[in-house]
Symmetry: C2
Subunit: 334 residues, 2 copies
């Protein structure tokens, strides 16, 4: 039987685990649990569950992209806390007829992403199921006084988004309806599809923040925008007991997205598309300006933190009435 045709049922669990060892930390996997040496830093831990047909599918996501995205989603949560990656565990539930080649592709994508941003696969488990499910847990570390949290926004701060929003959703649409790729310049197509299949956790931002003093850093609130930009602003405001005014003209919507889909759809995808894995930070104007210099196209000061509890989208050119953003519009997983 060729390697391409082998399934997990052909291999059995022990042989499958043996085949996956080359993707994992060299000294892991031999005991009941992985051991990390003592550290002087705070440990940061996050879990993400990805389900075939919900978060990825054969139509939209080749196996290496499934692996990359699964790790990127978790690493983005670590970045949002100001932490650097240490290791991940991989929980896999798989149908018996899953090809070995698919699993190796997923592990290859995971290893690529860890290679790029840090951390190793230190453990995991595999079980039989009717639907492919990945549950990744990532562990990171950060100096206790340099943890970035959601509940530290202050009135008068500005809100900074570190890059374009809506591109991952645009990529998904192009993958689901390939005929629409004809309407778009190749460069835009590639950018959108890449945003969906190979999102970039923003450790470049965290490296910039590493040069800041404890005092400057402790005045920041932040999180990632994995569930959409509106969701992130709503979370930051709710956790801090405050509100926000967002300026419609400052939202990080790529011009190519507006040209393709029109203003209203581009706005929807920016606010609610999700899975862009950018950071949304609340900080002083000076700090925001300092950071903006180092960020690429798409990064933008999108609004301000206010003392009331509303999150309003203001049309600063006066064409549309103010729009109150609510949780109802945000992505619901059920």
């Amino acid at each position: 039987m060729s390697r391409q045709q082998l399934t997990v049922a052909d291999l059995g669990e022990l042989e499958l685990l043996r085949r996956l060892r080359p993707f994992c930390a060299p000294h892991g996997l031999g005991d009941d649990a992985a051991v990390l040496p003592p550290r002087s830093q705070s440990q940061v831990i996050t879990t993400d569950v990805l389900v075939n047909g919900v978060h990825f599918s054969d139509r939209t996501t080749p196996p290496d992209a499934v692996g990359w995205r699964a790790i990127a989603a978790n690493l983005s949560d670590l970045a949002a806390m100001g932490a650097r990656p240490v290791g991940v565990t991989v929980g896999l539930a798989l149908p018996s007829d899953t090809p070995l080649a698919w699993i190796e592709g997923v592990y290859g994508g995971m290893a690529d992403c860890l290679q790029a941003y840090g951390g190793e696969i230190i453990g995991g488990d595999v079980a039989r199921s009717s639907q492919k499910v990945l549950s990744i847990t990532a562990v990171g570390e950060v100096s206790p006084q340099r943890v970035i949290r959601r509940d530290r926004a202050q009135a008068g701060q500005v809100i900074l988004a570190t890059g374009w929003h809506g591109l991952s959703h645009a990529g998904l649409e192009l993958l689901l309806q390939p005929e629409r790729q004809q309407d778009l310049p190749i460069v835009a197509c590639d950018t959108f599809i890449q945003a969906h299949q190979r999102p970039v956790p923003r450790f470049d931002v965290i490296h910039q923040l590493a040069t800041w003093s404890d005092d400057q850093l402790s005045a920041i609130a932040g999180m990632d925008s994995s569930d959409g930009l509106a969701n992130a602003v709503l979370w930051l405001c709710q956790a801090s007991g405050l509100g926000a005014r967002l300026q419609r003209s400052r939202l990080p919507i790529a011009p190519a997205l507006t040209r393709w889909m029109g203003e209203q759809t581009a706005l929807d995808w920016c606010l609610y598309g999700g899975e862009d894995f950018e950071l949304v930070l609340c900080l002083s104007t000076d700090s925001a300006q300092q950071l903006l210099v180092t960020l690429g196209a798409g990064a933008s000061i999108i609004g301000t933190i206010e003392t009331d509890s509303q999150v309003l989208l203001i049309d600063d050119v006066g064409q549309e009435p103010d729009l109150a953003l609510t949780w109802d519009g945000c992505f619901q997983h059920f």
Copy 2:
């Protein structure tokens, strides 16, 4: 709509997470990731995936038992490393029609088990799927020089099993075929079913080992018997590059199990049944005797570590030929 009838689709993700908060660590869940303070100990991390229809089912496992077992399986891996529990993350994949009452039952069982043995729910994620899948990651801590590993068995050591084996499998059979409960004394029924639904991670053994010197402890090899007693002995021998002789008469088979199922089936379930979550330790005869005094019924010195690589089951009363145990007989998840 009554609380009993509510499903996750009725609630939506945000409301579901709000309902689960009372089961979780009081200050967790508000950020992208959980934060654990710096520790002077080694961190120990393990992941287990449990799937409806494979590891549990409505026929055999009420929701609180699903939660208890999921946590117990992970905590047992921590115990096997000599570690104490710190926290767990819970990855859930659930069909939209899953009742809230089922999820609350699972979380209640998880919280009960953590209450009994230590640790808190510090984070997690929930996603939509066609089949219920739980992926638990547990974090523990242990002094770096007191980690118990598999690869430290030495020829001349004895092999100690900390309790009966095969009872969890017996409980499963009784739950799948309730009519067979009539053949058994009530006390045996309850014991077997309890072994399946509410297994006990052996932290009592770890507490005993805590009184030992670093030197005495570092001479131990060990793991848990979650995949069966034969699997544990094979792992310990393979990791240490050694073999073993097990004495048939010393295997930890409960007399009630033999009376019920006969010698051969009781032997099979003891060796291959799995999910007993006992510890299997390789240590000096003196250390083993010292530990045995504190252990309950079922604990037994089952054999010795040998210099060759075979794992042989010896019939010490001379009725049966020696039997070589192999990986083939062990539980395969696919």
